[in-house]
Symmetry: C2
Subunit: 542 residues, 2 copies
Amino acid sequence: MQADRPPRPAGALTRRSLLVGIGAAGGAGAMYAAMGVLGLAPTERTAPVPPASGAAPTPFVPPRRSDFTLRGDGAPASVLVLGAGVAGLAVAYELGKAGYHCTVLEARDRVGGRSLTLRGGDVLEETAAPGGGAGARQRVTFGEGTYFNAGPARIAQWMVTLDYCRELGVPLEVFVNANSSAYVLTEGMKGPVRVRTARADAYGYISELLAKATDEGALDARLTAADKERLLDFLTHFGDIGGSLAYTGGERRGFRVDPGVGAGTGLGRVPSLTEVLSQGLGRMLTMDAGYEQAMPMFQPVGGMDAIVRALAARVGADRIRTGVQVTGITGRPDGVEVTVAGGAPVRADYCVATLPPHVLAKIPGNLDAGVRAALATPIPMSAGKIGLEYGRRWWEIEDQVYGGATETDLDIGHIWYPSYGYHAERGLVVGYYNTGPAAEAYDGLAHRERLRRALAAGRRVHGAKYGRDILAATSIAWRRQPHIEGAWVRWPSTGGLSLLQRPAGRVYFAGDWLTHLIAWQAGALESARKVVTDLHHRVLKS
Amino acid sequence: MQADRPPRPAGALTRRSLLVGIGAAGGAGAMYAAMGVLGLAPTERTAPVPPASGAAPTPFVPPRRSDFTLRGDGAPASVLVLGAGVAGLAVAYELGKAGYHCTVLEARDRVGGRSLTLRGGDVLEETAAPGGGAGARQRVTFGEGTYFNAGPARIAQWMVTLDYCRELGVPLEVFVNANSSAYVLTEGMKGPVRVRTARADAYGYISELLAKATDEGALDARLTAADKERLLDFLTHFGDIGGSLAYTGGERRGFRVDPGVGAGTGLGRVPSLTEVLSQGLGRMLTMDAGYEQAMPMFQPVGGMDAIVRALAARVGADRIRTGVQVTGITGRPDGVEVTVAGGAPVRADYCVATLPPHVLAKIPGNLDAGVRAALATPIPMSAGKIGLEYGRRWWEIEDQVYGGATETDLDIGHIWYPSYGYHAERGLVVGYYNTGPAAEAYDGLAHRERLRRALAAGRRVHGAKYGRDILAATSIAWRRQPHIEGAWVRWPSTGGLSLLQRPAGRVYFAGDWLTHLIAWQAGALESARKVVTDLHHRVLKS
């Protein structure tokens, strides 16, 4: 999962919000719309964490064995890490570099947490829906070579996640987050339009309107003569408008018959300004403008779980205990005791709890009331995806769409075309990636009904072929994932966050939910680095 | 090589120009600027090939052996193919499917023509510069795994080139043609700015200007009340402007300190509208808006020559004679005779000449005067590239730029960061890709001087590190490539083009220069398909 920031008032850097949990799934506006539905006006958002000072942050220095020998004092301590997700594995990996004795306890039967890549042979359990009902179980039947990143799927160039890929030797390839050949479809449109066409029309009319207003002197109070000339030059390029300053289409829209030996044939009638504006595509055409979503983005070759598998391998299988559910956390002056279901209590000098806050909040122990209240504050959010494996890559063969996303305002949110296996026989399309109220609605559905809805919506974009050649399908509702119980969290109020960024005695907390990168693996990694640094400094001083 | 279309007046689909030879190298405006320098006004451009009719074109049907047996008449003929570039190999490959006896004559010592991928161990010969001087010879010393696509480097999703990759089993990966984290630099700027920052500022101010004009009623004659409301909503998203309709920056610009545990620190002062307009970035920020340049684009894994190597393998090594220079082409009523340097004449039923027109025009023979005049019409154009192999991928490690291009108006044109080998030890940067007058200037330089200039320009973008850790460098000036003598051609007038799209007796012509996709492999492939279809129909009827 990776949420987008909601669009914010200009200059709002100091108001970066933690309220991303409302969901966005790849289009800031989706979240914005959802916030509107929930009555969460952007003005309610605040920044609980003080903005960083202007100085560059201290670079992360991993603990080293020599830190102890050089100082001649202290020694690596024992650390219990709760949760083998990205944050927990990174904590154990980094502390392990200095010889800390880490034990990672994971309630699920595999490592990775939300960094979940599903392949044929996997079994996906779901708990009862929040509104009641029974649990469910899907057997994944994708073919050899097909994978479904059910959780996070993309990495921005600036994120620390890429540094870990480099350090761990995880090979990368481009994740196509935006594709000019993919489509946009809103309820206000008669049918799907290629992104390139919608963008050409929108940019064209914007340029025409502004160019004509400029030309007629309407902006004389704001623009010098030189500004005007430069603006008109800019708009000529930007909107592909000619000397008349009128937008009448152009090759950026695409072709019905591509150029080749012949000149090509255009798409036909250019919609009117009113038609273009009524499409309501503002947020869809700016999906990739955000800092977290801009192209190019990246993914590990072979599945996102390559990162957590590499981390787990470095930590060592003998230090990770899966299928172990924590039932109590008790801090003592000299250590931490953790009780587990059906096993002996485990003790260590320190504990780093990386479970989701809403899960941690339910675990008994002696954490003080303020800490418990803070853990109970963030609200777990819904997000869902469906992976549709096709026996024929019709999106490439027939639609000439290689990766990327179709953006909609339907309840499926987005359709993602695979950024791997180009021209292979099979391919996996993400038939929905929804958040907010749409995801909440899908939470309560059985897999079969989710599939039915996904196909119905997909047919509106791609026609009947969307329902054919399907070999396998698996859907996930993150609110129903055992021991995770949410896609990410939203902080409805900021009280308690800074409290949890500090240790509660010998218990530390780590996770994306403690950062400004909620729903991104990078948040978990940054949080892990902070806790590792804090803990190591404390041990060195002890 | 792949040229962009020059920007054209809106609605100019029917005026798609063949004059792309003026060069563009990844930014329509570069070509536009070059055209201005040369006094080539866009209005001079015309479309010599009639636009295709509204009907979908007849899909290409490759010749099959059964075409002969089913009809009970005719038989595969013998065909001499001149030139083992993309067009020539595709002709031989397609005709070979029906059992035609093709012989491919290639003057160079390797197949591929302009689809040239250089690796360690290769030797690159250059003829004397057009202005005189001596020839030159570079020994390529790139390390294992490093390659340099000295010619074409990228493929658009809609191009037939991808169909050939699928058919031939050539694996693909994304070519990052635009990167929000890369830079723009013009002579009018104090220093480089990230694409994302420049774009955020430009879009922000455009939105502010148009939103305020709309809000103040300056567009009331053009917009209904509903239009106005929708336009303002669109601009809010598009420009990331708030309720005040003023652009004051925002997270799209990027950060000095990235968000993580803290909220991040913005980039600082937002430039004024006047400053933004004076950067002159209109064409650079719309580089990827064109139909041929939009993201995502693709490349074969391991080097562009994977396509020509696959074609050559299907044609068969025994049917391709390299190092054979054609010295005469004589058409006869019953066949074609081709003389070659230092060898016996070669005869066949038909000939398909795929050499560049300016090379063909110099070969003696009995082609009629009209055909010879037509061949002499297109003007060969200059383009150049330099491949810089670094021992350290500083653009990834320090600048967090993974693939893509920095656009400049310096004489280097573009800097391309590699779209392969992410996080490897070494990497190859294309230090310039220039066209037009800049390329003409570089044509006359020795490799060492080209390298010096490339490094000086690159330092203006990346600082001193651009000059460090260089392991190897190779540069190419396409005007100085033996037997090719140009990057692509420009048609200064349209006379003769349609003549060359028809056979001259038993001699056919094929190449990108006969299509509306000049400088793209897709043009060569489309032309090859047309000739194959025409020739096969003729043989079936004979």
